[in-house]
Amino acid sequence: MAVGPYGALLESVRGVRWPARRPVAGGAPGVHPARTRGVASEFVEYRPYRQGDDPRRLDWKLLARSDRAFIRLAPDRAVLGTLIAVDASASMAFPVESVRTDGAHARTKWRAAKDVAVACAAVAHAGGDPVGLTIAAPSGLIRLAPRTRRGVVAEIARTLDAHVPAGSASLASAFVGAPSRVLLVTDCLGDLDGLRRAARAHVAGGGEAHVAHVVSRFELDPPATAMLATDPEDPSLARPLTADTRGEYRAAFDAWRGEVARAWRDDGVAYHEVLDDEPADVLVRRVVALPGSSAARA
């Protein structure tokens, strides 16, 4: 599998599993607990035999002892289709080269988003789940349908690498025809309300949604030098960020991030804040962990 610069990252997440947060709908056999009952050897319960049931599933020993026909039920496991939806708006290209001054801040939000997307795709694919990709670009959505075939992760990586963040586009339409699990990798600076509406509908339909909120360290702590802060997606929005306004900016940004996290969680979406300078494998483990697990608390 040609995964280019992601080799070390994929190696570091080998063995990581991405369990479903709730029983999945039945389907092709997979690793996620399904809402249906299957015929596996693992016993769960009995159910009285009904006409039409497969006679091979009768518990013949029980029938012999009690003269009652019962069917042995076992937990079913199914695959969970996963869509990685990546925000490729211009704001994801931050910080630009002129701002990055040292190695600690060498990654852009787009780079962090790509790492999270590829690594999560690899983790899902390793669990046997079909994995697809959607990139929200100004020209429209770039889609890779969920597949389980080999090489899909490399294809996802190549697609992401071939794209350059620009303009602004909404990720909300990524939910149309999406599989059960959707991972949104975005900085939440676009059409947040529309995205939340689509996510709420998806969750209400039994789906599972995750948000990896990508935040740059420079956005948290901008340079001390005065600047005319200009929104890359709206050049008309330019405001002076000086020593006097820096405190107000940080307070407003912190408050907004808290509000966004609360709103996503209220919508039933698993929210994860992703800093662009954090190691990607740590981010991925946090994203795929079940709530309450040690990885989720990390």
Binding site: L189, E219, M227, A229, T230, R239, E248, A252
Partner: protein, 421 residues
């Protein structure tokens, strides 16, 4: 190089510091930079103040600082002098009638090459070169001395010396008699900003007059007294000619008065109504008094009182005329008697036939007065001696250079503005 108003330099330095600070705290549009979270920055004027680690617009700042420094230097008034010596002296020598011939020796001892020499009596004469010859020919004059005139001339000479010296000292060589001082003397000396050394020399012998009696009477009663006065004249002292007339003054007498003589009209009256009178010569030191049988003669109005009768009436008065004076004496001696032979009369007559207004000639000034003219401390610095009307030849050039820089700054500012736009 010295500055006439060095405070302007300090003001210019402060202004330069202000310009530097303003270039660090710029109120211009900060450089635009992409920030996706710009929406969380409080809205405000895009032209925000910002503090830079390095001054902005270095060329403009340098032009402004240079212009300010040049303006400060121009207003400070730089004066360039080539200093020949560190300390110059002004020798103020008293050649008035108060000085004895010893003044020449003292001046010769004190004088040195490069000193300015001020010789004063009633007026002052300043000499920069040829001091040795001037001192060698120094002889006390008959004029009354004026220390004020000497100090004024000395201060003027000191300012000239300050162009070539770092500091200037004044040395006064004078007996400092009371008649040389006036109300302005103390204040003139007090205005001198440095050290004043007073070398006090011996004063000339007092009241040295040569009295001649013009009388057609060989037995004139005044002859013995005048002879006694002339007999006591000290040798070597400057003499003042005094002509005593028994008859009304003539044109020749007036001419003599104009040339400096004291013409005393002391009439001889026969048949005068004499009686016992008290007579006091007011200008004598101490006051000479006489009680004798005398007659009164009327005096012309006005004039300076020389003697008074016991009841306060004027007994003698004096009017200046040219360099000398005309004096009238209203005390009539009896034709018979020995009044003129009495020592008291000789004392009174010494004042009545003295030099013009010369009663205090040679009287030394008090020690406290003399002390006030001698001041210690450092010599006056050249900077403190620059006169208010002194001009700086460099100031116009500095002003022109500052204006050129300001014009350049104007163009540089426009260019910078266009570049920013």
């Amino acid at each position: 190089m010295t500055f006439l108003a060095p405070l302007w330099l300090a003001a210019a330095a402060l202004a330069v510091a202000g310009v530097f600070a303003l270039h660090l705290i710029t109120t211009q549009r900060p450089p635009p930079q992409l920030l996706p979270t710009a929406r969380f920055v409080p809205a405000g004027d895009a032209r925000a103040s910002s503090r830079a680690a390095r001054p902005t617009d270095v060329l403009l700042m340098l032009l402004r600082c240079a212009a300010l420094l040049l303006l400060g230097a121009a207003f400070a008034g730089p004066v360039t002098h080539s200093r020949g010596s560190s300390l110059a002296r002004v020798l103020v020598v008293d050649r008035s009638r108060s000085s004895s011939v010893d003044i020449r020796d003292s001046a010769q001892v004190l004088a040195r090459q490069g000193d300015a020499l001020v010789l004063f009596d009633s007026s002052a004469h300043t000499m920069i070169d040829g001091n040795a010859d001037s001192i060698r020919a120094l002889v006390p004059t008959l004029a009354r001395g004026s220390l004020s005139a000497g100090m004024v001339a000395a201060a003027r000479a000191a300012r000239d010396l300050a162009r070539v010296a770092d500091s200037v000292e004044i040395v006064i060589v004078s007996p400092v008699t009371a008649d040389e001082l006036d109300a302005a003397s103390a204040s003139i000396v007090a205005r001198w900003p440095g050290r004043v050394r007073l070398v006090r020399v011996r004063a000339a012998p007092a009241a040295s007059v040569s009295v001649s009696l013009v009388s057609d009477d060989a037995d004139d009663a005044l002859r013995p007294a005048i002879a006694a006065i002339n007999a006591t004249r000290p040798r070597g002292a400057a003499t003042h000619a005094v002509r005593v007339l028994r008859n009304a003054p003539q044109a020749a007498d007036s001419a003599a008065a104009r040339e400096g003589a004291a013409v005393v009209f002391w009439p001889r009256v026969t048949g005068a109504n004499a009686r016992a009178e008290g007579l006091a010569a007011r200008n004598a030191t101490p006051v000479a008094t006489l009680v004798a049988t005398l007659a009164r003669a009327p005096l012309s109005a006005g004039g300076a009182v020389i003697a008074r009768w016991g009841d306060g009436a004027r007994a003698a008065a004096e009017w200046p005329l040219g360099r000398g004076c005309i004096r009238e004496v209203g005390a009539i001696l009896p034709l018979a008697g020995d009044v003129a032979l009495q020592p008291a009369f000789v004392s009174v007559a010494r004042s009545l036939v003295g030099a013009c207004q010369g009663a205090n000639l040679g009287a030394p000034a008090g020690d406290s007065t003399v002390k006030s003219f001698s001041r210690g401390g450092a010599a006056a610095t050249a900077a403190s001696l620059h006169s208010e009307d002194e001009k700086s030849s460099l100031a116009p050039w500095l002003l022109a250079a500052a204006l050129l820089l300001l014009v350049w700054e104007l163009f540089a500012r426009r260019r910078t503005g266009e570049a920013l736009a």
